[in-house]
Protein backbone atom coordinates (compact mmCIF):
# COMPACT_ATOMS: atom_id res chain seq x y z
CA UNK A 1 0.00 0.00 0.00
CA UNK A 2 2.81 2.42 0.87
CA UNK A 3 4.58 1.37 -2.35
CA UNK A 4 1.42 2.23 -4.27
CA UNK A 5 1.21 5.62 -2.54
CA UNK A 6 4.88 6.30 -3.29
CA UNK A 7 4.36 5.34 -6.94
CA UNK A 8 1.25 7.41 -7.50
CA UNK A 9 1.87 10.35 -5.19
CA UNK A 10 -1.80 11.05 -4.68
CA UNK A 11 -4.40 8.34 -5.04
CA UNK A 12 -7.87 7.23 -3.99
CA UNK A 13 -9.70 4.20 -2.62
CA UNK A 14 -11.01 3.06 -6.06
CA UNK A 15 -7.58 3.41 -7.67
CA UNK A 16 -5.86 1.54 -4.85
CA UNK A 17 -8.37 -1.30 -4.87
CA UNK A 18 -7.99 -1.60 -8.65
CA UNK A 19 -4.25 -1.89 -8.24
CA UNK A 20 -4.05 -4.06 -5.12
CA UNK A 21 -5.60 -7.51 -4.63
CA UNK A 22 -7.89 -6.28 -1.84
CA UNK A 23 -11.42 -4.90 -1.60
CA UNK A 24 -12.39 -1.24 -1.32
CA UNK A 25 -13.44 -1.86 2.27
CA UNK A 26 -10.02 -3.31 3.09
CA UNK A 27 -8.29 -0.38 1.34
CA UNK A 28 -10.35 2.10 3.35
CA UNK A 29 -9.50 0.27 6.58
CA UNK A 30 -5.78 0.27 5.78
CA UNK A 31 -5.89 3.97 4.90
CA UNK A 32 -7.60 4.70 8.23
CA UNK A 33 -4.83 2.84 10.10
CA UNK A 34 -2.13 4.67 8.13
CA UNK A 35 -3.91 7.96 8.79
CA UNK A 36 -4.13 7.30 12.53
CA UNK A 37 -0.40 6.56 12.54
CA UNK A 38 0.31 9.89 10.84
CA UNK A 39 1.61 8.35 7.62
CA UNK A 40 -1.18 9.30 5.25
CA UNK A 41 -3.33 12.41 4.89
CA UNK A 42 -6.23 13.55 2.73
CA UNK A 43 -5.03 15.57 -0.22
CA UNK A 44 -6.83 18.83 -1.09
CA UNK A 45 -9.98 17.89 -3.02
CA UNK A 46 -9.59 17.47 -6.75
CA UNK A 47 -13.11 16.88 -7.90
CA UNK A 48 -15.59 14.51 -6.24
CA UNK A 49 -13.15 11.77 -5.35
CA UNK A 50 -11.50 11.78 -1.90
CA UNK A 51 -7.77 11.54 -2.50
CA UNK A 52 -4.97 10.47 -0.19
CA UNK A 53 -1.20 10.95 -0.09
CA UNK A 54 1.77 10.18 2.13
CA UNK A 55 2.58 12.90 4.64
CA UNK A 56 5.85 14.84 4.40
CA UNK A 57 8.49 13.20 6.56
CA UNK A 58 6.37 10.07 7.04
CA UNK A 59 9.21 7.78 6.08
CA UNK A 60 12.03 9.68 7.80
CA UNK A 61 14.09 7.34 9.94
CA UNK A 62 15.35 7.94 13.45
CA UNK A 63 18.93 8.39 12.22
CA UNK A 64 17.83 10.95 9.59
CA UNK A 65 15.95 12.87 12.27
CA UNK A 66 18.99 12.78 14.56
CA UNK A 67 21.36 14.15 11.89
CA UNK A 68 18.91 16.87 10.84
CA UNK A 69 18.17 17.91 14.43
CA UNK A 70 21.79 18.06 15.55
CA UNK A 71 22.66 20.12 12.46
CA UNK A 72 19.78 22.49 13.25
CA UNK A 73 21.05 22.96 16.82
CA UNK A 74 24.53 23.61 15.45
CA UNK A 75 23.17 26.57 13.46
CA UNK A 76 21.00 27.82 16.32
CA UNK A 77 23.90 27.65 18.77
CA UNK A 78 26.16 29.60 16.39
CA UNK A 79 23.50 32.35 16.33
CA UNK A 80 23.04 32.10 20.12
CA UNK A 81 26.79 32.53 20.64
CA UNK A 82 26.85 35.63 18.40
CA UNK A 83 23.85 37.09 20.20
CA UNK A 84 25.08 36.62 23.78
CA UNK A 85 28.69 37.61 23.06
CA UNK A 86 27.50 40.83 21.38
CA UNK A 87 25.62 41.68 24.57
CA UNK A 88 28.18 40.40 27.09
Amino acid sequence: MIDALLREGTTSVPRLSAELPITRQAVAKHLATLGAAGLVERAPAGGREVRYRLRDGALESASEWLARTEAAWGSRFARLKDAVERRA
Partner: protein, 98 residues
Amino acid sequence: MPARREIEVEATPEQVWEAIATEEGREDWLQEPDREVRIEVVEEPSRLVWWWAGEQQAATRVEFQIVAAPAGARVIVTESEPAFPLAMLAASFALVAV
Protein backbone atom coordinates in the same frame (compact mmCIF):
# COMPACT_ATOMS: atom_id res chain seq x y z
CA MET B 1 18.34 8.35 20.99
CA PRO B 2 18.03 12.07 21.71
CA ALA B 3 19.87 14.69 19.65
CA ARG B 4 22.64 16.42 21.58
CA ARG B 5 24.78 19.48 20.92
CA GLU B 6 26.95 21.74 23.05
CA ILE B 7 28.80 25.02 22.72
CA GLU B 8 31.00 27.24 24.84
CA VAL B 9 30.33 30.97 24.90
CA GLU B 10 32.11 34.01 26.31
CA ALA B 11 29.28 35.17 28.52
CA THR B 12 28.06 34.40 32.02
CA PRO B 13 25.51 31.63 32.65
CA GLU B 14 23.05 34.40 33.60
CA GLN B 15 23.48 36.12 30.24
CA VAL B 16 22.99 32.81 28.43
CA TRP B 17 19.91 32.17 30.56
CA GLU B 18 18.38 35.50 29.47
CA ALA B 19 18.92 34.55 25.82
CA ILE B 20 17.30 31.12 26.17
CA ALA B 21 14.64 31.48 28.84
CA THR B 22 13.00 34.75 27.73
CA GLU B 23 10.99 35.38 24.59
CA GLU B 24 12.93 38.59 23.86
CA GLY B 25 16.20 36.69 24.17
CA ARG B 26 15.08 33.89 21.84
CA GLU B 27 14.04 36.38 19.14
CA ASP B 28 17.74 37.04 18.49
CA TRP B 29 18.72 33.52 17.54
CA LEU B 30 16.04 30.80 17.60
CA GLN B 31 14.29 31.65 14.30
CA GLU B 32 11.52 29.05 14.56
CA PRO B 33 8.37 31.09 13.92
CA ASP B 34 6.35 27.97 13.09
CA ARG B 35 6.92 26.21 16.38
CA GLU B 36 5.17 26.99 19.61
CA VAL B 37 7.44 26.81 22.68
CA ARG B 38 5.89 25.65 25.96
CA ILE B 39 8.22 25.99 28.93
CA GLU B 40 8.02 23.06 31.29
CA VAL B 41 10.89 23.34 33.80
CA VAL B 42 12.61 26.53 34.98
CA GLU B 43 15.68 26.23 37.19
CA GLU B 44 17.36 29.59 36.78
CA PRO B 45 20.13 29.88 35.62
CA SER B 46 21.17 26.29 35.00
CA ARG B 47 18.33 24.20 33.55
CA LEU B 48 15.42 24.90 31.23
CA VAL B 49 13.04 22.43 29.58
CA TRP B 50 10.48 23.17 26.91
CA TRP B 51 8.19 21.24 24.61
CA TRP B 52 7.63 22.49 21.12
CA ALA B 53 5.63 21.44 18.09
CA GLY B 54 4.59 22.87 14.75
CA GLU B 55 2.26 22.02 11.91
CA GLN B 56 4.99 20.05 10.12
CA GLN B 57 6.92 18.95 13.23
CA ALA B 58 5.93 16.43 15.85
CA ALA B 59 6.19 17.45 19.50
CA THR B 60 9.62 17.03 21.08
CA ARG B 61 11.13 17.89 24.45
CA VAL B 62 14.15 20.22 24.52
CA GLU B 63 16.36 20.44 27.58
CA PHE B 64 19.13 23.01 28.15
CA GLN B 65 21.83 22.82 30.77
CA ILE B 66 23.99 25.86 31.38
CA VAL B 67 27.19 25.39 33.37
CA ALA B 68 30.07 27.73 34.20
CA ALA B 69 33.15 27.11 32.01
CA PRO B 70 36.63 28.68 31.73
CA ALA B 71 35.55 30.89 28.81
CA GLY B 72 32.24 31.81 30.48
CA ALA B 73 29.51 29.24 30.04
CA ARG B 74 28.87 25.91 28.39
CA VAL B 75 25.42 25.21 26.97
CA ILE B 76 24.26 21.65 26.35
CA VAL B 77 21.01 20.91 24.55
CA THR B 78 19.26 17.58 24.16
CA GLU B 79 16.12 17.12 22.08
CA SER B 80 14.00 14.00 22.50
CA GLU B 81 13.08 11.82 19.54
CA PRO B 82 9.58 12.40 18.24
CA ALA B 83 7.21 9.44 18.08
CA PHE B 84 8.03 8.25 14.56
CA PRO B 85 5.03 7.50 12.36
CA LEU B 86 6.45 4.11 11.33
CA ALA B 87 7.02 3.09 14.94
CA MET B 88 3.48 4.22 15.76
CA LEU B 89 2.21 2.21 12.83
CA ALA B 90 4.05 -0.91 14.02
CA ALA B 91 2.52 -0.36 17.46
CA SER B 92 -0.99 -0.05 16.04
CA PHE B 93 -0.60 -3.24 13.99
CA ALA B 94 0.71 -5.01 17.10
CA LEU B 95 -2.49 -3.94 18.84
CA VAL B 96 -4.57 -5.36 15.99
CA ALA B 97 -2.60 -8.63 16.12
CA VAL B 98 -3.35 -9.06 19.84
